[in-house]
Every structure is written in C-alpha cells, then in structure tokens.
Subunit: 349 residues, 2 copies
C-alpha cells in the first residue's frame, strides 16, 4: 500500500495540511465537524505520521545514542555493558526515550555520529576521545562522557578507577603474594602501559601504586602484564599464556570481572585450583561474580548508577539545561573466596 500522508487526508477532507496536523496535535483549534471528518478519514486510511518528517520540525527524535568504541558484538560480550545499559534503561523507562547503540560506522566514529538521528549522545570508554569530542561538538547535540579522561567544560561521569585498582592489588600483596600478574584490557599499545589513557591508565596507576608501596617494581621478573580481550575467552587465553611462564604468578589481578571469570575457567580446565593454587581478583563486580565457585573477590563499582547518572545528565542537557560537572563515583573491594593467604613455604614452582 502506498504511504498515507497528511496531504492525502487533507485532499480527501477538503482542508489544508495544517488542519489535519491540528486534528492530531491541537484538536481544540478545529471545529468539531472538521475534526471528526479528518479523524475518520485518517482512521479509515490507517494514517500513521512519518516519524522522520515529524522530527524535522520538532527537532526531537525521542532517542538518545550510546556511542561505543567497538562493534556491538565486542562490547556486549562483557556483562559490564549490560549492567550499564540497565542504568540507562531506567532513565529511558522514566522519560519514554529509546536508546540507540551507535558503533563506529565501518571504523569511522565521525560517520557514526553524523548519521545517528538522536537527541544527544552518551559515550562509553572512548580512547580516541579527543577527536571524538570535535566530532560531537560539530554535530551540535549535547553529550555526556563516561569512562574517559575528564575534560573541562564537558560533563563526565567516572569512577575512582585508581583507588579501586590500588585496593585490589594491595589486597593480594597483604595476603603475602609476591609473584603477581595483571590481566589487563587490550589497549592497542602492546603492553606499553605508560602510553595508556583513560580508564586503563588510571587502573594501571592504582596497581603500580600498590606495587610500589610493597617494594615490588613493575620491571621485575615477579610482575607480569598480559593484555586480554574484554570477554571470557580473552581471560581464558590470558591465563593460558600466564601458565606457560616459567615463573608462574601466585596471584592474578584482572582489570575486569569477565576476564577474571575467563581466567577461572581456564584454571579449572588446567586443573589449577582457585584459590589454593592461584588467587584471583577482578574489577567491576558484575552479577556473575557472585555465581562463580569460588565467588570472585573483586572491586565493586556502581555500574547501574553510573549509567543512570550519565543518562539523567544527558536528559537534562537535551531539555536545555546546563551541567558540565565531573562526577567520580566510589569503588570498594568486595571480598569473596578467590583470594587466599600466601606464605613462603607454600611457594613452589
């Protein structure tokens, strides 16, 4: 069936397009007779206003965009992302907004941003955020950045990445571990952690601070850094790589729970017991951290709250408000059962 437009209805009703529009958006401006005539014709023809044409004039799409740094399958494989979506979703529920997932368009964030018909953007963990900021500014819609390096004048929501990482590392060091491995998140920098930015940099700084306090230099044979993809299989591969080492770690500190969970999976497959043979600490405190056996000791961050706060902020901005504050949400260690005291005599190759 050919698309039914406002024009067609106007023609049949013998009125102007305006009158038809009023029938739906401001009925009081029409006489009862005209109104009913228009409405019945529209009903009969099954008229549905074109959302795009409508957005043209209203300047509103009823949708906010979530700009992610990687293709959807890559980001969704980390349950962290689901929980973040849940927080945003609460705001959508309250406000009646939809949510668009906006991955780079054939590698180009610029094209993705320019093509997305949304009222504003949330950005999550963008590494190339400087270039992205220019693109977003040009695009002319408000945006809120989450898990990036805070930038003056731009509303940002972050967590205390460094503090959390420091506590996590300190926890295993206090437990006596002196051979530790860090399962990091793939950075594209091949382990050159001094070039890290954003969340990765801050977490790394936290680990290093705790290491330094314990007198363990990063450049020692007792400290390893392995970068993993942010999903369970990435963690599994990371663990396998670690277990091929001559000097295996007695404790593993992972930059995300899903990596830690993958590592635990690999450990089980290799007959390595957690925490008897190796201790593991995660980061994020996703729901699954409670389901594993042993329960995963990890750094809790308020993921849902982070998403909700960022979305609330964006909605305020979209509605014309202003807010360029930086928010830093707290983190804290959650002790479960994946870490065990390590004493010298138990240390064996």
């Amino acid at each position: 069936m050919a698309k039914v437009t406002i024009k067609e209805i106007a023609r049949r009703a013998g009125v102007s397009k305006t009158a038809v529009s009023f029938a739906f958006n401001d009925p009081s401006r029409l006489s009862e007779a005209t109104l009913q005539r228009i409405l019945s014709i529209a009903e009969e023809l099954g008229y549905v206003p074109d959302p795009i044409a409508r957005s043209m004039t209203t300047k509103r799409t009823g949708c906010i965009g979530l700009l992610v740094p990687q293709p959807i399958p890559d980001v969704i494989r980390n349950p962290f992302f689901s929980e973040f979506l849940e927080g945003i979703g609460e705001v959508c529920k309250e406000t009646g907004l939809s949510l668009m997932l906006v991955p780079p368009l054939k590698g180009s964030i610029r094209r993705a941003v320019n093509d997305a018909a949304v009222d504003g953007f949330l950005t999550l963990g963008l590494e190339t955020f400087r270039g992205t900021m220019i693109v977003l500014e040009q695009r002319g819609v408000p945006y809120v950045m989450v898990d990036s390096d805070p930038t003056l004048g731009i509303p940002c929501v972050n967590i205390d990445d460094q503090g959390g990482a420091r506590v996590a590392m300190a926890h295993v060091l206090h437990a006596g571990h002196r051979r530790v491995a860090i399962l990091g998140i793939k950075s594209g920098k091949q382990g050159r952690y001094k070039e890290y930015a954003g969340t990765l940099r801050r977490r790394m700084e936290g680990y290093l601070a705790a290491l330094s306090e314990a007198g363990l230099p990063m450049r020692s044979r007792n400290v390893h850094l392995v970068e993993c993809d942010s999903h369970a299989n990435g963690g599994r591969e990371g663990f396998q790589q670690l277990w091929r080492l001559k000097r295996r770690p007695t404790a593993i500190v992972a930059m995300s729970d899903i990596i830690a969970i993958g590592a635990m999976e690999a450990a089980r497959e290799l007959g390595v017991r957690v925490p008897d043979d190796v201790s593991i600490v995660g980061y994020d405190d996703i729901p699954a951290a409670r389901w594993t056996q042993p329960g995963l000791t990890t750094v809790h961050q308020p993921i849902r709250e982070k998403g909700k706060l960022a979305a609330d902020l964006l909605v305020k901005l979209v509605e014309g408000g202003t807010d360029s504050n930086h928010y830093v949400l707290p983190t804290n260690l959650v002790e479960r059962e994946s870490v065990r005291i390590w004493t010298e005599e138990t240390t064996a190759g």
Copy 2:
C-alpha cells in the same frame, strides 16, 4: 553556535542548495572550481548534514529497531538478551547499521513503533503480537518476529521450544525424580498455563508431554508450577517459595537459565546442596551456565545464531527483498553437573 545548513553554504558560495549537495554526494557533476569553493566554505564553517533531513529524502535511517515487550531494564537483566543482541550486532557490524532498542512508550507499543525512526523492526517475544502486527503493518516498514507464535506471511524465527522442554523434563524423570517443580516465566496469567502463548506455551507443552509420558499428571501434588520474573532475583524468590512447601521437589526445571541460576543462589544461601539435595535444569544455555558450580545442565538454544538470522532476514527485507519463511532452530540438552540420580530411599522429607 547556530546550526550550519546547506542553505547558508549555498548563499556564501553564490550557488544553489543543489550544488552544495552535489559537492558531497556527486562531485563529478560540478566544475572543479565550484566544487573546491563549496568544500572549503563547508570545511571552514564546520558543516555537518542533518541526519533527519537527510533521511527525509533517502527514506533510510541506517538503523534497525528491536522491539522489546518490556522496559529496557527488565529485558537486559536476562543475559539471554545480551547474547541475542550479540547476534544482531554481528549483522550491524557487517552492514554498518545502528541498533535502536525500542521499549513500549509509556506502556504503548503502538506509540513506540510509530515514533521510532528505523528502517525495520525485529520483535522479540511479544505476547500481544496480534495487535502489534497491525501496528507494524500500518507503520509500513518491514519486520521479522522472533520468539512469537508463527504467523502466515510474516517472517518468523523460532527455536524448537517444545522439543527442548520435553528433553529437559524427561532428563530429570529418567533420573528417577518424581517430585518436580517448574520455575516458569511470569506470564501475567497467574499460573493458568492453558492460557499461555508463544514461547511459554510451547515450553510448557514440552514439559507436560514428558510428564505425561512418565504418568505424572500436572494436577498432582507432586508437580508444581511457580512463575518468576526473568532475572536472577526472580529465580531466587521462586526457589524460596518452593522451599516453603511441605512437599519439596527433588528436581527443578526452569524456563530460563537466569532463573535457574537465581534458584541455585537461593539454594546455596539456604544450605541446600545442588545436585545432592535438589537437581536443577535450565533453559537457554547462556555463558554463565558454564561458570556456576556445579555447572548447569540446560537446554542449549543457538541464541546468537537466532539473532543473526533474524537480523540478516530483516536487512534483506529492508533492501527490498522478500522472505516470509518460518525458521525453527534446533535445541539440545547439555549435561553438566546440576542433575543427579534420585532413588526412592534417598527421598526424605
């Protein structure tokens, strides 16, 4: 800064809007001099085409919608949904499409569908699919239904829900269990399972078929049905409710893994051992089913493939193709460690 439009550039360059548009979309139709003049002015002003205005004429948004039956926070709490998104995401990655999550707009699916500026819809597990179909037809964009009752002429993607459910129930019955509980998914029907539709109905039919084969009528004191919300906490509550019963089940068959996982959590909290004290079977085979201890015996369904197939289908439809086939993907039982043989003598209060 005021929005830079094509008109402003045309004015400054002393050409028509058409020329400016050609500069970006069909440069060969302009003389080199005109082209460069337009391009440099556009560059200088930081021009970005308005995606909405562009969609007006192209009739394309570069975005597909996923219509979900509940608010985003409710659906995302089931990891099943993430994996489904992963499958859709693969198609987005290949085709350069974005994905819009479209929940009911203040309870109205009609408004949500009419307001969403997308090239087509995927629907997931819609209960009120008859009314929704009319809305979608009127909306005039192609759509593919997933996990609904198959409807003639509409492309549908489903799994063998009934077969999977039957095998799951048969599995615990073969293991000797005679007091079983079903942890169902909240239906809005207060347990009147004969009124179920779609996925729920098919799974229920599968359970009933196996029960019937074993000579266990549903209307017996030995078979219980409890409806749960589709998240871990729903499963936890379901288990707690079951454990308040006088005649506790020796086996629990859950309609989704996340409910089963929540039940396992509740069991652990109550000191009930799985599978020694109670056996549990799930449905879906989400990644977390491998992480629990004991590993969850469950019905595997190809979630990602389902999402990918549905999205591939939709893309074909959006591009003008036709396909109103019905696809039914296979399911199979995955045995892990959450089910144990039950003999009469072990049966105690």
